[in-house]
């Protein structure tokens, strides 16, 4: 039976204190003080919808090659994708080193596009046009300073592997409603949303358009509302999910935490994130219903299997919630989100024009972090070159592709550089050495001064390398980030 074989999730490590925001804005928006509770996830300057989606996908696929073998369809959902006309899913595929002969699509245009992409993937596998589909949803929404969206939103991503053998959760039914109810919109060239009155959105939109989708999904599944054990419905309106559940006949205890206090609402990725969270906490046999609103509504119903416990991702939503660092600096948030004109200095004038020919020629190296392994000596290296780097055996044309992204690594040498331009100074970088061989001089991200030293365990993360503001192009590459699980394990070992 068609269903979810695996899932993964990602939330950026930084969590912006809402109190820090409301206090800074109290002079202009005192009413927002009511929203000063909890924190929201905040993308680092080098994270966007696409990089977070890649991290969620890696979480879903696992570190082994088997995890990504056989993926023959890829759906990337976002309303904040970095490119309007360059397939974003293609970048995800390259970062994950998926096969070239796969179907792929960007799904966008509404807050429910994450669930719509998942619905399409389920339909494709059910219909036989795909055997193993990867669905990723990532969102990094910008909001104006001192707006309520700035407080409500969060950044994050979720991913699902859909296959004909359910694995973790059987797909039971889907319901969709399409209605051009414009609660908010963002025009093609606009930087921010424009929203209508909240009471109208709630009473005329959500209350009227979501239930038909939910009922249709349950009817498809042959289930009654009372059988739903996990009801996932993102909404920034307090009590909205509970009130919907009541009107639908779903038990109040089935209504799930919408993560508003811990992550904020991650747009089209939020329904998927709540679904992932439910899968992590559900018991076998539980019925999970996830729905999301957006010019209509999308609803999907699943039944959790016995095998779900074995499918838990390494991080998931549970791990993402734990991996956090409190951020009290609202100005940093504004700066990361391009809302402050700050003095970057002359060093930032460097032209970041990207040679697209070079990018394509070296695609697996740049986007996939693929190096080489000499089939004669076994020496691995980055980058892959025609002549092996092995000092005593410079074999020619013996290199096979070798993926570094999932290898464990550590810092050989580093510096925290205050001179060079960085969006988050000091810029940390250093020589990273990999277990099994190979080394790369690379940027180190998600660290604070004093955190890095030689020997620090690190993992690879897919990030924004540079932004070419002049031409609107974003460069991606891999960076090292502290491998906090390995660091904790080391500390535990040292304590013994």
């Amino acid at each position: 039976m068609v269903g979810i074989a695996a899932w993964g999730a990602y939330a950026p490590r930084l969590r912006l204190s809402r109190k820090a925001v409301t206090e800074a804005n109290a002079w202009v928006a005192p009413n927002l003080r009511a929203k000063a509770k909890g924190e929201r996830s905040m993308a680092n300057w080098d994270e966007d919808a696409l990089t977070m989606a890649v991290e969620a996908a890696r979480d879903a696929l696992g570190v082994t090659d088997e995890g990504r073998a056989g993926v023959d369809a890829l759906y990337f959902a976002s309303t904040t994708a970095p490119f309007v006309d360059r397939q974003n899913a293609g970048i995800v595929a390259a970062a994950l080193t998926l096969e070239k002969a796969i179907a792929s699509a960007d799904v966008t245009g509404s807050q429910r596009c994450g669930l719509a992409a998942l619905g399409q993937a389920l339909a494709a596998v059910k219909g036989g046009s795909a055997a193993r589909a990867l669905v990723v949803a990532g969102e990094h929404r910008r909001a104006r300073a001192a707006s309520s969206q700035e407080l409500d939103n969060g950044d994050g991503a979720a991913a699902f592997v859909v296959s004909a053998e359910a694995g973790a959760a059987e797909f039971l039914g889907r319901g969709s409603v399409t209605d051009d109810f414009v609660d908010h919109f963002r025009g093609a060239d606009a930087g921010f949303d424009y929203s209508w009155e909240e009471r109208w959105i709630r009473d005329e939109g959500i209350v009227k358009l979501v239930p038909p989708a939910v009922r249709a999904a349950l009817q498809n599944a042959g289930l009654s509302p009372a059988e739903v054990t996990h009801f996932c419905f993102p909404s920034v309106f307090g009590g909205m999910a509970a009130s919907l559940a009541k009107s639908l006949g779903i038990a109040p205890e089935a209504v799930r935490d919408n993560l508003a206090l811990t992550l904020g609402e991650a747009g089209c990725a939020h329904g998927p994130l709540m679904l992932a969270h439910a899968l992590e906490q559900a018991a076998p046999g539980d019925v999970v219903l996830v729905a999301q609103f957006g010019q209509g509504a999308e609803a999907l119903v699943f039944r959790v299997t016995e095998a779900a416990a074995q499918a838990h991702p390494a991080r998931g939503v549970t791990g993402s919630l734990l991996d956090r660092r409190a951020e009290e600096n609202y100005l940093k948030f504004l700066t990361f989100n391009g809302l402050v004109e700050w003095d970057k200095g002359m060093r930032a004038e460097k032209d970041n024009k990207t040679a697209l020919t070079t990018l394509y020629r070296n695609q697996d190296q740049i986007l996939g972090l693929v190096g080489g392994r000499c089939r004669e000596t076994g020496v691995v290296q980055f980058p892959r070159t025609r002549i092996s780097v092995a000092p005593n055996n410079p074999a020619v044309d013996t290199q096979e592709p070798y993926r570094f992204a999932e290898r464990r690594a550590s810092v050989l040498s580093y510096s925290a550089d205050y001179l060079t331009f960085s969006m988050s100074p000091p810029n940390h970088y250093g020589m990273i050495v990999f277990e099994g061989g190979g080394r790369i001089m690379m940027d180190i991200t998600d660290v604070e001064p004093g955190e890095v030293d030689s020997g620090l365990p690190v993992k690879m993360v897919f990030r924004v390398k540079d932004v070419d503001e002049k031409r609107g192009f974003v460069r991606y590459f891999w960076k090292a980030a502290p491998d906090r699980a390995a660091i904790a394990a080391q500390a535990a070992q040292a304590a013994e």
């Binding site: 970041n352 070079t358 740049i366 550089d417 060079t420 020997g455």
Partner: protein, 400 residues
């Protein structure tokens, strides 16, 4: 086996401009300044020059490409001008070209001129930018101090030296160079500093503070070389001859293979070993009288003391703190102030190092003069610890 360059070529004359923030001078002015001094020292006419080698690194900012900038600035008599560039070791490359031309007999007298005009960027430090179209998509957005600073973390990890001890040792590297630079009227920075000032300076790239970084300067230097026979025929006595010229270039071993630990310069060890052999030096710590090393950053100088086989591995920091490399120490180093205080106009630096060794060997170094030096060594590095070119040259009294 090559016979080597030892005693085949003599230095006929040298010149060096005042280094520093030369707001008053363009690259042409700087080249002329060094050239006029070198020609007067050599006592020859332009028509006696057979060939020229010209080094400059940041051509976009300075002179532009090619050999014409030198030929036009100096009004050379339509002789061959070869422009060379090898990162911060470019000056040594110009010297190598001129010396080899003389040794080969292709030129009787050749001149090497290096220049860099760095202070037209509008900001401190070196100009930014990564080479080609692939590197910018991969390499970190870094800087020279950030690359060299990494030596410190790797050195600490390898030798078990504490942050505090290493910071104190590299601080002394700079204190010593400032003391020397204070006696050099051509130096960019001519002020002594205390260890406390160095230790409390703002961080540039951890653990390097402001005083751990060399001056970014404008300047030019020049050397005129010929055979010992021609030098004598021109009336020169007590010749300073070239004993060794070596260059070792990274091939990816450090940056891509698994053998390098990040704490030292692989190339420097190779170049130094070959240079000692070429010069017939067996006990460098005792035989080398003085040296100018590529102290772009204090930590670079510290590990270089070991890479040149002067200090035992892992003990360089102790020698530094013991004052072994001070002006009155066992092996005076950076007696002219080094890159740290004389300054670092990239294309000129290798020749500037030789200039001080040459003055010292001729007993013309004024208040910096050391007692009876025999061999002077220069170490001129270009690139970063993980990927670089390293030149080691030794000059000395003829026949020594």
């Amino acid at each position: 086996m090559a016979k080597g360059i030892r005693d085949k070529v003599a230095i006929l004359g040298m010149g060096c401009s005042k280094f520093g923030e030369r707001w008053d001078a363009g690259p042409d002015d700087l080249m002329v300044e060094a050239y006029v001094e070198a020609m007067a020292d050599a006592g020859i006419e332009p028509s006696q020059l057979d060939a020229a080698w010209f080094s400059t690194h940041v051509d976009e900012l300075g002179t532009g490409k090619g050999g014409t900038p030198l030929s036009i600035a100096l009004r050379l008599p339509n002789i061959a001008v070869t422009r060379v560039e090898n990162f911060c070791a470019s000056g040594s490359e110009a010297f190598r070209g001129a010396v080899y031309a003389v040794a080969a007999g292709a030129a009787d007298i050749a001149i090497a001129v290096g220049v860099e005009k760095l202070k037209d960027t509008g900001y401190g430090g070196l100009p930014v930018g990564a080479p080609g179209t692939l590197a910018p998509q991969i390499i970190p957005n870094g800087s020279a101090p950030g690359n060299f600073a990494q030596l410190a973390s790797a050195y600490r990890a390898k030798h078990g030296v504490s942050r505090e001890d290493l910071k104190r040792a590299i601080a002394h590297v700079s204190v010593k160079s400032h003391a020397n630079g204070a006696k050099n009227k051509k130096a960019h920075l001519q002020k002594a500093v205390t260890a406390e000032q160095v230790l409390n300076a703002p961080l540039i790239a951890e653990p390097l503070g402001l005083f751990d970084c060399c001056g970014v300067s404008d300047g030019a230097a020049a050397a005129i070389v010929t055979t010992p026979e021609i030098a004598r025929s021109l009336g020169k006595r007590d010749l300073v001859t070239v004993k060794a010229l070596q260059l070792s270039v990274s091939n990816g071993f450090e940056s891509q293979y698994n053998g390098w630990d990040g704490s030292y310069f692989h190339t420097a060890r190779i170049a130094a070993g070959k240079a000692y052999k070429e010069a017939g030096i067996e006990r460098p710590r005792e035989q080398i009288s003085m040296m100018e090393v590529h102290d772009c950053f204090s930590i670079t100088e510290l590990v270089t003391m070991e890479d040149l086989f002067i200090s035992p591995e892992g003990q360089g920091w102790r020698d530094v703190l013991d004052g072994f490399y001070d002006a009155d120490g066992g092996l005076p180093c950076q007696i002219d102030g080094g890159l740290k205080c004389f300054g670092h106009p990239i294309g000129a630096s290798g020749l500037r190092m030789l200039y001080e060794m040459y003055l010292q060997l001729q007993g013309r170094a004024g208040e910096r003069q050391l007692k009876d030096p025999v061999f002077g060594m220069t170490h001129n590095l270009g690139g970063a610890p993980s990927s670089n070119v390293c030149s080691v040259a030794i000059i000395g009294q003829e026949g020594a």
